[in-house]
Symmetry: C2
Subunit: 232 residues, 2 copies
Amino acid sequence: MTQPVKFYFDLLSQPCRALYIFLEAAKIPYEAVPISLLKGEHLTGEFRDKVNRFKKLPAINDHGFQLSESVAIFRHLSREKLVPEHWYPRKNLARSRIDEFMEWQHLNLHYATTDYYRQKWLLPTLTKSCPNEELINQSIKRLESTLTEFESHWLKSHDFMVGSKLTIADLLAICQIDQPKIIGYNPFKNRKNLIRWYELVRESLGPHYLDAVQEFEAKIKAHDNQKMSIQQ
Amino acid sequence: MTQPVKFYFDLLSQPCRALYIFLEAAKIPYEAVPISLLKGEHLTGEFRDKVNRFKKLPAINDHGFQLSESVAIFRHLSREKLVPEHWYPRKNLARSRIDEFMEWQHLNLHYATTDYYRQKWLLPTLTKSCPNEELINQSIKRLESTLTEFESHWLKSHDFMVGSKLTIADLLAICQIDQPKIIGYNPFKNRKNLIRWYELVRESLGPHYLDAVQEFEAKIKAHDNQKMSIQQ
């Protein structure tokens, strides 16, 4: 029997959610190893030596082969496991167009959504201090312009991002947009095409997506309640 | 006869140099279309409409298919053209390890080397003003810690970055390290393993690499001379 892939993750992280949904939806056998980012479990020497030398999530171990970087993991799984073709299709150069998004997002959609989440929620939670309003405003400006770029460059058609079927580009992007959304930011104002695409992707991803988002929301709320009870 | 790939580039840019060397070394038929970054030729509406909607270099047009993002272009060429296997090997999961670097570099080696170049040379050249020493010092700190990480995580063996042969990971990385180096920064201090690897990659890349670096240097010098003659 094939050994399942060991998957190290925390659903607070957007690429972790994307990979969790992918593993579930593509029915890849895996062993879930939850790691708590807020407790700093990814920063220990043991995690560095045995799981990921970069001390980051997500990470996998596939038959002794350690791998990090969510985009590299997506590609690895698409190559090494039995994965339905629609996720990363070869036809009509779709794979090249998906790759273009997977590289573009690093310094654009990923950067902007993560930065807002960090300033608005993560840093205040970790340091038990008030958010820095000036940095949040800078973050909002970047996020607004990135969402506008995302809509105009990647949601031109009436389908998914690349062609008429759901791909890993849609999955990665919706998880990124959820990062500021779940902590109270509205990404949809004056963005009809974004709303249409978001609904389409959410419906297509089904229950695994809803599970992941619900757990993400529950984690955020649990920490917010804890903060409030300390303040009272 | 197959139409050559149209390649839009400026050798001032590190991913442009990496792709230029790759096209030459792998003998992929291409048509060179130089675009001047300093003159802002990549920012025009014509470039946006006909070449790259993101207004960035490098970009290609392969039989009418427009593609940007250097890592996506590397992968596209490796899939669609006849490219020697050693550049992006499938064996022993090397492709997954190369992908891991190609994703890691965005917010690490690429970010740090580009930021130093921007603060130290590009912004002062474009705005005809003095460099901001405080921002340069921040940039140096980031660059130092990234180079240390690069050496400890990616240059552990006595070979190339991934296995015993030259790959696109080595090519991308050496072009990134050259970016601060050519404008006067010394990346090698107390880094024996980096020196060893750098020499090995430089020798393996041969004349195409030297051509690209020489043209990069010449462009920098031409602008520095222009600046000095204005100041005198």
